[in-house]
C-alpha cells in the first residue's frame, strides 16, 4: 500500500541506501537490541482511505449532541459564544498553524506580533501590567498562580474559595501536592466566598488567596473586601476571571490583584469537549520576571526596524532547566491567536456589547424562570450564570430538556453535596428570547419542578 504522506519511491530508497553504503534499511535498526525489537505487526485498526475515514469520523461525530443543533444553557467554565466567521479563516492560514514555537524570530514575525497583540489585549481586559503568551487552560493557569505565589512569598499555604471552579481546584490540589503546599478551602455562603471564613483562614503563612470573578455560580465576588484581607497579611491576591465578563465588570487589576488568570475560551475558541482552550496569565510589573511560560517583547533589528522576539527566557525550562519558573513548553499559541482575532473582531464596542447582552439575557432568564414558579438559589449580583433549585435530580430534568432540543444546565450536586438538585444555568448572547422562553415552558411543565416556591 502506498501512503499519500510518504513520498519515498523505491528508486529514492535504492539511491539513499547506496549513499549510506548499506543494503537494507534493516541495518539502520540493528542498534535496537534483538530482545526489545518489536517483531509483530501493531494490533491497531487498519488504515482507511480518505472517503471511508471521513465517513467513520463523521459517524462518531454524529453520535454527539452538539450545541449547533441544540440550544445550550450549559456553562460552568465553558461557553457557547458568537465566533465571527473570520476567526476560522485566519486560523487556517497554515503559516500559523503549521509553525513551531517562534524561536527564529526573523521568519516568525507574524506569530510573534500576534502574541504581542494578545498580551496587550489581555492586559487591557484584566487591568494588569504584563500578560504571557498563554497557558494550557484556565485550570492549570490557576494552579501555576498558586505555585508562583508560594515561590514569591516563600509561604506554603494556598487559600482558595469553594466558589472557584471545582475542577480548577482539583488541578490546584494536584500541583500543590508536588510542591508540598497546603491548600485550604473556604466555604461559600449564599453563593459567595464567606468573608468570615476567609478571615479565619488567612494568616501570615498564607501565600495567596484565590477567588473567581464572576465565580463558579456566576456571582460577582466582593473583590474589594477580599483584597484587604489578603494584603493585610502580605500574601498575593489571585483572581480567576472570565475575560468576556471584564467587558462589563471592573477589572481585577483595579482591585489590586497581583495575578489574574483565566481562560480565553469565550473569545473565538470552540467548546471542543473541554479542550484545547486557552489559559491566560497576567501579573503586575513586580512579578514580570517570575511569570511561567513564554513572553514576547518588542525590540528593533540591526536597521532599527521594529520587530518582536521571545524574551526574558532566563525564566524558562530550555535555559534554566530545574531552576525554571515552570516546566511549561508548548502552550496554546494557536488558540491565543484565535482569541486575538475574536477580540479584534469584537473590538472595543463588541466586547462591551456582548458582555452586556450576557448580563441582560441571564437576568431575563432568571426572571422568567421565577415567574414560572422556580426558585433561584442566590441573591447577589451575577454575570451570565445563576443557580436554580429543583425538586428532583438535575439529570432527570436535563433528560427532559434534551427531548425538547435543549441542553440543560450543570448539575451542581456533582461537585457540591449541599447543592444536590441545584442546576447552574448559563445564558449567553447566543440564546434567543424564544429559546429562553422555551426553557421556562419546558421546566414549568415538568412535575418535579412545579410549585416549588409555593
Amino acid at each position: 500500500m502506498t501512503f499519500r504522506y510518504l513520498p519515498m519511491t523505491d528508486q529514492d530508497k535504492k539511491e539513499m541506501l547506496e549513499t549510506i553504503g548499506i543494503e537494507t534499511t534493516e541495518e539502520l535498526f540493528k542498534d535496537i537490541p534483538e530482545e526489545v525489537r518489536f517483531k509483530g505487526r501493531l494490533d491497531i485498526e487498519e488504515a482507511l482511505p480518505e472517503p471511508q475515514l471521513v465517513k467513520e469520523m463523521g459517524r462518531l461525530a454524529a453520535m454527539n449532541k452538539n450545541t449547533k443543533d441544540y440550544a445550550s444553557f450549559l456553562g460552568a467554565g465553558v461557553y457557547d459564544h458568537y465566533t465571527p466567521s473570520i476567526v476560522n479563516h485566519m486560523l487556517l492560514r497554515s503559516e500559523f498553524y503549521t509553525a513551531y514555537t517562534p524561536y527564529q524570530p526573523e521568519i516568525s514575525q507574524g506569530e510573534l506580533q500576534a502574541i504581542f497583540e494578545f498580551q496587550t489585549m489581555i492586559c487591557e481586559l484584566t487591568g494588569m501590567d504584563v500578560a504571557n503568551s498563554s497557558m494550557y487552560d484556565g485550570g492549570t493557569s490557576l494552579a501555576e498562580a498558586g505555585l508562583l505565589s508560594a515561590a514569591q512569598t516563600r509561604r506554603k499555604k494556598i487559600v482558595v474559595s469553594k466558589s472557584v471552579h471545582p475542577e480548577s481546584r482539583d488541578v490546584l490540589k494536584t500541583y500543590a501536592k508536588g510542591q508540598h503546599l497546603e491548600v485550604v478551602e473556604v466555604d461559600a455562603e449564599n453563593g459567595l466566598t464567606s468573608i468570615n471564613g476567609l478571615r479565619s483562614a488567612v494568616d501570615e503563612e498564607t501565600a495567596c488567596v484565590i477567588v473567581q470573578y464572576p465565580n463558579f455560580f456566576g456571582q460577582i465576588e466582593p473583590l474589594k473586601e477580599i483584597e484587604e484581607i489578603i494584603h493585610e497579611n502580605k500574601g498575593m491576591f489571585v483572581v480567576s476571571s472570565n475575560p468576556l465578563a471584564l467587558g462589563a465588570l471592573t477589572p481585577p487589576g483595579k482591585f489590586g490583584a497581583d495575578i489574574v488568570v483565566g481562560d480565553a475560551q469565550p473569545f473565538g475558541i470552540a467548546q471542543g469537549f473541554g479542550g484545547p482552550h486557552c489559559g491566560y496569565f497576567a501579573v503586575t510589573n513586580k512579578l514580570m520576571r517570575k511569570v511561567p511560560g513564554r513572553l514576547v517583547g518588542q525590540t528593533v533589528d540591526e536597521d532599527g526596524k521594529r520587530g518582536f522576539v521571545l524574551t526574558l527566557q532566563a525564566r524558562e525550562q530550555h535555559i534554566r532547566r530545574d531552576k525554571a519558573t515552570s516546566n511549561i513548553c508548548s502552550n496554546q499559541a494557536l488558540n491565543a491567536l484565535a482569541a486575538s482575532i475574536a477580540m479584534t473582531a469584537l473590538g472595543k464596542e463588541g466586547v462591551k456589547e456582548v458582555a452586556h447582552q450576557n448580563i441582560q439575557k441571564a437576568h431575563y432568564a432568571k426572571k422568567v424562570l421565577e415567574d414560572k414558579g422556580l426558585r433561584t438559589a442566590f441573591t447577589g449580583p451575577f454575570f451570565n450564570e445563576f443557580v436554580i433549585e429543583l425538586k428532583c435530580s438535575a439529570k432527570e430534568v436535563n433528560q427532559k430538556l434534551l427531548e425538547s432540543g435543549i441542553i440543560g444546565g450543570y448539575d451542581l450536586g456533582l461537585s457540591y453535596s449541599e447543592l444536590k438538585n441545584h442546576m447552574l444555568i448559563a445564558v449567553t448572547e447566543m440564546r434567543t428570547k424564544e429559546e429562553i422562553d422555551q426553557l421556562a415552558n419546558v421546566l414549568e411543565g415538568l412535575s418535579c419542578v412545579q410549585n416549588i416556591s409555593h
Binding site: 467554565g77 497554515s94 471584564l246 467587558g247 465588570l249 471542543g272 508548548s330 499559541a333
Partner: protein, 487 residues
C-alpha cells in the same frame, strides 16, 4: 516574505469601526446599575482595536505572510518532528459533533466523542506497549509532570517516602529537569559516554536508594538508540526506581520497538509531533501518558472506561494523583491524532519510522564530509552535527542557521543538546521528498563553502527576511511586553 512596515492592529484602530455582527438585544432591557453595584461596573473601557472585517483579514493575512510553517517550506527542526500536518485532520476536528460539544454534557449525549478517545488510548497503548493510557495531559511537559506525580504516588503507596531524586541524562530536554522540580523532585544528571549514549558506569554511580526514576528519551536527543536500555532498566529497577520514557522522539521507532518492551514503566507521547497534531506556533499540543499495570491505580482522574459497550468517565479512583487538567485533555488535538492513526494503520506507521530514519541517515552521510559529525554510528530519525570546524573560521552555528533563512528554510535546532559544541540538530521527518532533502543538503554545502570563502556573507545573514537580526539583549533589559498608545 513582505518587508514593508507592519502596523500593529491597535495602530489601525479608528473609533466607530466594527468587525462583528450580533442581533439586537431581544429581551426587555433592565438598567444594569440596578442589578450590579456601581463599584463593579467597568468605567474605563479596555483599549481593544476598532477595525473593519476586511482590515482584520488583511492584518492577519499580512502577519501570516511574515511567518514560516511546514506548509511554507522544509522545517528540519531536530527533536520537534515538524512533519506534514494533514488537512483532513483539520476538517474532522471541525465537525460540529466534535468541535461544538460541551465537556459537562450528560455522558449519554457524547458517546461518539468518548468512543473516539477510547479507541485512541487503546491504539496508543498498543503502539507504546503499555497497559493503559490517559489522554489528559495538555502537552509533553505536562505529561512528564503527570508521569512523575504517578511515580511519586506509587512509591508513597509502598511506604517509600525517601525517593527524592530523578535522574536525567546530560542530553535531556530542559522540560525533564523542570518537570522533576515541579513534581517535587531534585534532578541529578548522568553523563553521556564518547558514543553519545548514557554512561553506564556513571549511571551506577548516581543510582541509589533515593532514586525515584530515570527519565530517558530513546532514541536520545542525539538521535541515537540507547543500546544498553535493558541494562539501564535493570539498574534502575533493582534500585527500586521507575523508568520514564520521554516520547519526543517516538517517530523513530513506531512498529520497530516499544517502550513497554524496553522496560519503561511510564511513557508520554507528543501527539503534536509524532501524530501530526499541528504545532500551532507553540501549541496546543497533547501529551498522553501510558503506564504499566502497577501504576494504573495512580492515573489522573477521570479514567475513561468501557463497560457493556457504554463509555464512562470513572471518578472513584482512591489512589489517583487527582486531576491534572480540567475536563479530558486537549480533545481537539486528540481527534487529529486519531484521524492520522486511522489514515496510516499498522503498516503505515511502520513505514513512517522506516522512512524517517532512512531520510536522516541519508542526510547525515551526505553532510558528513562538510561538517563535523561527533557521533558516527547510524542515527535514528535525527542526527547532530557540530559547527566547530566553521567556528574556527569565524562562522558560528547561529550564523549558519540565519543563512539558511535566506534560502527559505527553517533552520535545524541549534545549540542543543548542550553536550555538543555548536550543535546543529537535523530531523527531516518521513514526509519530505528526496528532492527536498537534496536541495537542502546542497545549500548546507554551499554555506560550508561560504564559511571558508566569504564568511561575512554568513555572519551577516539573514539578508532576505522581513527583519534582520533582532536586538534580544535590549528586549530583555528594557522589556516592552505590550502596546501603549503614546510609545
Amino acid at each position: 516574505m513582505r518587508t514593508e512596515h507592519q502596523s500593529l492592529i491597535f495602530e489601525l484602530s479608528k473609533p466607530g469601526r466594527v468587525g462583528y455582527s450580533i442581533p439586537d438585544l431581544d429581551v426587555p432591557e433592565v438598567n444594569v446599575e440596578s442589578i450590579i453595584p456601581s463599584d463593579y461596573l467597568r468605567t474605563e473601557e479596555p483599549e481593544l482595536p476598532e477595525v473593519s472585517e476586511l482590515q482584520i483579514v488583511r492584518h492577519y493575512t499580512a502577519l501570516s505572510n511574515r511567518n514560516h510553517g511546514v506548509d511554507s517550506g522544509f522545517y528540519p527542526l531536530g527533536s520537534c518532528t515538524m512533519k506534514y500536518n494533514p488537512k483532513i485532520n483539520e476538517d474532522v476536528a471541525r465537525f460540529p459533533g466534535f468541535a461544538h460539544i460541551h465537556p459537562l454534557q450528560e455522558e449519554g449525549t457524547v458517546q461518539g466523542a468518548m468512543e473516539m478517545m477510547y479507541r485512541l488510548q487503546t491504539s496508543l497503548a498498543e503502539i507504546t506497549g503499555m497497559d493503559e493510557v490517559t489522554l489528559q495531559p495538555a502537552a509533553g511537559a505536562h505529561g512528564e509532570w503527570t508521569g512523575l506525580m504517578m511515580i511519586r504516588a506509587y512509591h508513597e503507596a509502598n511506604g517509600d517516602f525517601n525517593r527524592t531524586k530523578v535522574i536525567v541524562p546530560d542530553s535531556a530536554h530542559g522540560t525533564n529537569p523542570a518537570s522533576a522540580t515541579v513534581a517535587g523532585f531534585e534532578s541529578v544528571t548522568v553523563k553521556s559516554d564518547e558514543r553519545g549514549l548514557v554512561d553506564l558506569e556513571d549511571l551506577k554511580r548516581v543510582v541509589d536508594q533515593d532514586v525515584a526514576a530515570l527519565m530517558l528519551t530513546n532514541p536520545n536527543t542525539l538521535g541515537l538508540f540507547e543500546e544498553h536500555i535493558l541494562e539501564m532498566a535493570k539498574i534502575i529497577h533493582e534500585a527500586g526506581g521507575k523508568l520514564y520514557y520521554d516520547g519526543a522522539n517516538a517517530n523513530a521507532i513506531l512498529g520497530f520497538a516499544r517502550p513497554g518492551d524496553m522496560g519503561f514503566d511510564v511513557v508520554h507521547l507528543n501527539l503534536h509531533k509524532t501524530f501530526t497534531g499541528p504545532h500551532g506556533g507553540g501549541g496546543p499540543g497533547s501529551g498522553p501518558v501510558g503506564v504499566k499495570a502497577d501504576l494504573i491505580p495512580f492515573l489522573p482522574k477521570p479514567v475513561l472506561v468501557k463497560e457493556n459497550d457504554v463509555y464512562k468517565f470513572e471518578y472513584n479512583r482512591p489512589q489517583s494523583i487527582g486531576r491534572v487538567k480540567p475536563f479530558y485533555g486537549n480533545f481537539g488535538i486528540n481527534v487529529r491524532a486519531f484521524t492520522y492513526i486511522m489514515t496510516m494503520g499498522p503498516d503505515g506507521l511502520h513505514q513512517v519510522s522506516e522512512n524517517a530514519v532512512l531520510n536522516a541517515n541519508y542526510m547525515m552521510r551526505r553532510l558528513e564530509p562538510h561538517f563535523d559529525l561527533p557521533f558516527t554510528q547510524h542515527c535514528k530519525h535525527e542526527f547532530v552535527l557540530s559547527g566547530r570546524r566553521q567556528k574556527k573560521l569565524g562562522v558560528r552555528t547561529l550564523d549558519i542557521a540565519k543563512r539558511l533563512l535566506d534560502f527559505g528554510y527553517h533552520p535545524p535546532t541549534i545549540y542543543f543538546p548542550l553536550s555538543v559544541e555548536e550543535a546543529i540538530m537535523i530531523e527531516p521527518t518521513e514526509t519530505e521528498s528526496k528532492e527536498t532533502l537534496d536541495e537542502f543538503i546542497e545549500k548546507m554545502i554551499q554555506i560550508a563553502k561560504e564559511a571558508e570563502e566569504t564568511p561575512e556573507l554568513v555572519q551577516e545573514a539573514p539578508h532576505t527576511t522581513v527583519v534582520k537580526r533582532l536586538d534580544e539583549a535590549t528586549a530583555a533589559r528594557k522589556p516592552i511586553l505590550k502596546y501603549s498608545k503614546q510609545a
